[in-house]
């Protein structure tokens, strides 16, 4: 195959996938609101997002662990992120959702106030977490800047880790 032919083929494939070059630099996230702030979780850590569902209380756990619920035959813990982040409990309403996250074998549902949107943020627009919270145990992975908003990106694996 001549070099020229290769060049043409390369050119064609480049044209077909114009985004290919910078896909690696983009992080896909799902944004949601808890209290007054917007947070985001990498889309790959999310198994599904469901409407609120009845759950069963479990004794001897911190208040933010609401209990367990049945998702198609699996018993899954339910964690209220409002309570986890030190906010007051709020009644579930039409916008409340459970985000079911999965990292490795760990699965848990998280209660959020409402969803915002799926986000694509360029890596260069994501800054590190503020120094004051930037420790190993921090739930915060970084801070994304998108136009006029600032979005806190959370670590899914840390959220799924039992800390009591």
């Amino acid at each position: 195959m001549s070099d020229k032919l290769k060049e043409i083929i390369n050119k064609q494939s480049d044209q077909q996938n114009p985004d290919v070059t910078n896909l690696d630099d983009i992080v896909q996230l799902v944004g949601f609101i808890i209290g007054d702030e917007e947070y985001a979780i990498p889309i790959l850590a999310i198994q599904e997002i469901i409407k609120p569902f009845p759950w069963t209380r479990v004794p001897q756990v911190p208040a933010y662990v609401k209990g367990v619920f049945n998702m198609r035959g699996s018993v899954i813990p339910l964690i209220d992120l409002r309570l986890k982040f030190g906010l007051n409990e709020q009644k579930h309403n039409d916008e409340t959702r459970f985000i079911v996250m999965k990292v490795g074998d760990e699965v848990a549902g998280f209660v959020i106030d409402r969803l915002t949107m799926a986000l694509r943020i360029k890596k260069q627009n994501i800054g590190p977490a503020p120094d004051t919270v930037n420790t190993e145990d921090s739930l915060i992975d970084g801070v994304g800047k998108e136009e006029d908003r600032i979005i806190t990106i959370l670590k899914a694996d840390k959220l799924l880790k039992r800390d009591f």
Binding site: T56, R57, V58, P59, V68, P77, K91, D105
Partner: protein, 787 residues
């Protein structure tokens, strides 16, 4: 190579089975050394293993088994009497054989285990001079084996170097040997027939033998079968009992079990839906059909579940089999005379449980031998038989398997046990005084407890018995000890049949439901509140002759008391070994088959919760961990059954008319509008609900503090009476005025209204003013708000 692997697998499976059998037979042989049948059987095993291993080039194994075979061969020809010393050597060689088989299984080669010492001993026993060439796993010792063997067979003249023979020569040699052997056989058979014995079919013709046996290498193997044919011939007895089996990967069975679990859940759900449908469409024709289908599905599911459970069942004999050998070794080691009696080895248990109980049983039996059975002189002095008896029994008892280990040894001394426990700091003296003998016996299961004055090789390191307890509890089993000083000890292990699906008693407390494994439930009792007494800060009740300590389930599981306690409560009596406790619950929901699900890593290790299950309605119910609950109950002070917090005053100061909130419950939009219109002039806040359930969930949400409720009686889903009864269950709504607004005017309707807790009864039609005045009176409406 694949073919080789396949053969290897078959070889291993067969060998392990044979070796297991071997152990048993040898023990039996020791007591009846003349039993020729037995000897032949044992010899065959050694021989088969040897033959196969030489074919597969496991030279070390071949070398070892060959020498075993020699000894056994001599024994069965009456040239050697099996003495305990000889048996020791033989057993040792069998151990080595097992080790070799294990190595082969793990590494596909038999290198790494030195059998030389044992072989020399075997050789000495069989009359040799102990000068046996050492075999390396890599070398090919076939010729050694054959020469040796033949010398034993007194066919010394056939000491030929087979390796150097051409194929034809070997073939010829085999033919010659076979012919010779057949001659002998014929002679023997003739002798036998003369003696009136039935003789199995003639041995296969030489040609067949040559074809059937693996082609080239081990001539030794071929030389042998001829030797055994007369007596061993095709094992007729065995073919009769051969079971048709398929080996299945356990993972597949586990998967199947999981699927069945899902099916059981679906079945439960179907039954629930069927009940609901039945209620709603009472009398409809299709109901019967639906009923039939549901009952068939549930029947088949149950059968299927049992069938799959059975595929996972193994006879407990698998575990029991190793004990005769163990007892034998122990008796020699400890210089005691102990006999083991086994019964019920056919009893079947789930495979995973069979695997779990092996170790505990070893510990228990070692203990019985070491601490239980006395030495012969002490036994004689105590007026007992010289030899002790340990009996190992397994039997079904309801949903459980009981494994009972009895010994007729010296028994447990409760006082010594207590002293020891105090000395070791396991219990306080006060605790010791309060202990019954049975509780004292259970002390031996505590970690760090050992009564043996001297630590022996056998037991007494103080680890054994608590391992027993933890292992048995791991499979949801319980340990029970009975003992009589001087007479013996009896240990009972009660183990559930299977792990994944259990029968459970569902109990309700407030609005929650919990599942209690039925195996731990002894009985349930309905009590009235004043039957509960308080002793030293603990609740107790009398149960027939006993005093039963009580604990309220809501104290264990931190249940919020939103509903007021009733006059009556139910006590679920839980039993675990000798411990008993009464668990107070609000309601008994029923008995159900539940599938145990784990709570996952995030929530694991919650005290008192053994897992969760999914119910017919799709909800999750937690399963009570009875063992942990018993422990937790000790730390719970005064069960607060009487001290349910009474309705907190919800009447906050009203500053304007709209602070008054009234709920209107009616299924008819028109009626609701009429009531709204009638009450509007008052300026109070009105909340509407379309039926009883909606009203109840509005109440539960607690968004409003209602001052009164107007309730229609005829409503779908939940009628007015039921709603009133439900509302009155909540202590905070005890004093909420409920006003019935209905067209039902009968006296009995009014009575029902009063019974269910309604305080006013307005009949339709009514004048708006009348309604307004009734509401005003009931909410204590301040007149200044009237405009």
């Amino acid at each position: 190579m694949d073919e080789f692997q396949e053969i290897l697998q078959d070889f291993l499976v067969e060998s392990f089975e044979l070796v297991e059998q071997l152990d048993q037979d040898l023990i039996e042989l020791e007591s009846t050394p003349e039993d020729l049948e037995l000897l032949n059987g044992i010899f065959r095993v050694a021989h088969t293993v040897k033959g196969a291993s030489s074919f597969l080039n496991f030279d070390v194994l071949t070398h070892l088994t060959h020498h075993m075979e020699n000894v056994l061969n001599k024994a069965r020809h009456g040239e050697l009497v099996i003495t305990p010393d000889i048996m020791d050597v033989v057993l040792e060689s069998i151990d080595l054989m097992k080790a070799l088989l294990n190595t082969i299984r793990d590494t596909s080669s038999d290198a790494g285990i030195d059998v030389a010492a044992c072989v020399i001993r075997l050789d000495k026993v069989s009359g040799g001079d102990g000068d046996v060439p050492k075999v390396e796993s890599t070398s090919a010792p076939a010729e050694e084996a054959s020469t040796e063997e033949i010398s034993v067979e007194e066919n010394a003249e056939e000491e030929l170097d087979y390796d150097n023979m051409s194929d034809e020569d070997v073939e010829a040699e085999i033919q010659k040997l076979l012919a010779e052997r057949q001659e002998e056989d014929k002679a023997k058979r003739a002798a036998k027939i003369a003696a009136g014995e039935s003789v199995p079919d003639a041995p296969p013709s030489p040609d067949e033998v040559v074809k059937d046996t693996p082609a080239p290498p081990p001539v030794a193997k071929k030389a042998k079968p001829k030797n055994e044919t007369p007596k061993a011939a095709p094992p007729v007895k065995k073919t009769a009992t051969v079971e048709q089996t398929i080996r299945v990967d356990v993972k597949r069975l586990d998967h199947l079990m999981n699927l069945i679990g899902e099916l059981v859940l679906a079945k439960n759900r179907l039954i629930k839906i069927n009940d609901d449908v039945e209620e709603r469409y009472e009398g409809e024709e299709f109901l019967e059909e639906l009923n039939q289908v549901v009952s068939i599905v549930s029947l088949v599911t149950t059968d299927l579940q049992i069938a799959v459970m059975k595929t996972r069942m193994l006879p407990i004999g698998k575990v029991f089999n190793k004990f005769p050998r163990m007892i034998r070794d122990l008796t020699r080691e400890l210089n005691k005379k102990i006999e083991l009696e086994i019964s019920g080895e056919d009893t079947e248990l789930d495979k995973s449980i069979v695997e779990e109980i092996g170790d505990p049983l070893v510990h228990i039996i070692r203990n019985s031998c070491d601490h239980g059975i006395e030495t012969p002189d002490i036994r004689v002095a105590a007026g007992k038989e010289e030899g002790g008896i340990i009996s190992l029994k397994a039997y079904n008892e309801g949903n459980q398997i009981v494994i009972q280990i009895d010994d007729d040894g010296k028994g447990l001394d409760a006082d010594i046990l207590k002293d020891k426990a105090i000395e070791k700091g396991l219990i306080s003296e006060k605790e010791a005084d309060n202990m019954s003998d049975k509780e004292a016996f259970l002390l031996i299961m505590r970690p760090g407890f050992s009564t043996a004055a001297a630590v022996t090789n056998v037991s007494g390191r103080g680890v054994g018995m608590d391992v027993v307890k933890t292992n048995i509890e791991k499979v949801n089993g319980i340990v029970d000890i009975e003992s009589e000083l001087g007479k013996g000890t009896s240990l009972k292990l009660k183990i559930p049949l299977t792990l994944a699906i259990i029968q459970a008693l569902l109990v309700g407390v407030q609005e929650e439901t919990y599942a209690i494994p039925l195996a731990s439930v002894l009985e349930t009792v309905r009590i009235s509140i004043d039957e509960v007494y308080t002793v030293e800060g603990k609740s107790v009740m009398r149960l027939r002759e006993d005093v039963l300590s009580l604990v309220h389930i809501s104290d264990i599981f931190e249940v919020e008391r939103i509903m007021s306690s009733k006059e009556y409560a139910y006590v679920v009596v839980l039993g675990l070994g000798t411990q008993k406790i009464g668990l107070i619950v609000d309601t008994l929901v029923g008995q159900e088959e539940i599938v145990i699900k784990s709570l996952g890593d995030y929530l694991k290790g919650i005290e008192g919760v053994a897992g969760a299950t999914i119910r017919g309605d799709g909800g999750v119910t937690l399963i009570v961990d009875v063992v942990a609950l018993m422990d937790m109950a000790k730390n719970v002070k005064v069960s607060a059954i009487n001290s349910a917090s009474n309705a907190e005053a919800v009447s906050t100061e009203k500053t304007k008319a709209s602070d008054y909130i009234v709920m209107i419950v009616d299924d008819s939009k028109t009626d609701r509008t009429i009531m709204t219109k009638a009450l509007k002039p008052l300026g109070i806040t009105l909340v509407e609900a379309g039926d009883g359930q909606e009203a109840l969930s509005l109440l539960k949400q607690g968004d409003h503090n209602f001052d009164a409720m107007l309730i229609d009686i005829e409503m779908p889903r939940m009628d007015g009476y039921t709603l009133a009864i439900e509302i009155k269950k909540y202590s905070r709504y005890k004093n909420l005025p409920l006003i019935a607004v209905t067209s039902r005017t009968g006296k009995s309707d009014r009575m029902r209204g009063v019974e269910s807790g309604m305080i006013e009864y307005i009949t339709k039609p009514y004048s708006p003013d009348y309604l307004s005045s009734v509401v005003q009176r009931n909410v204590n409406f301040k007149s200044e708000f009237l405009s």
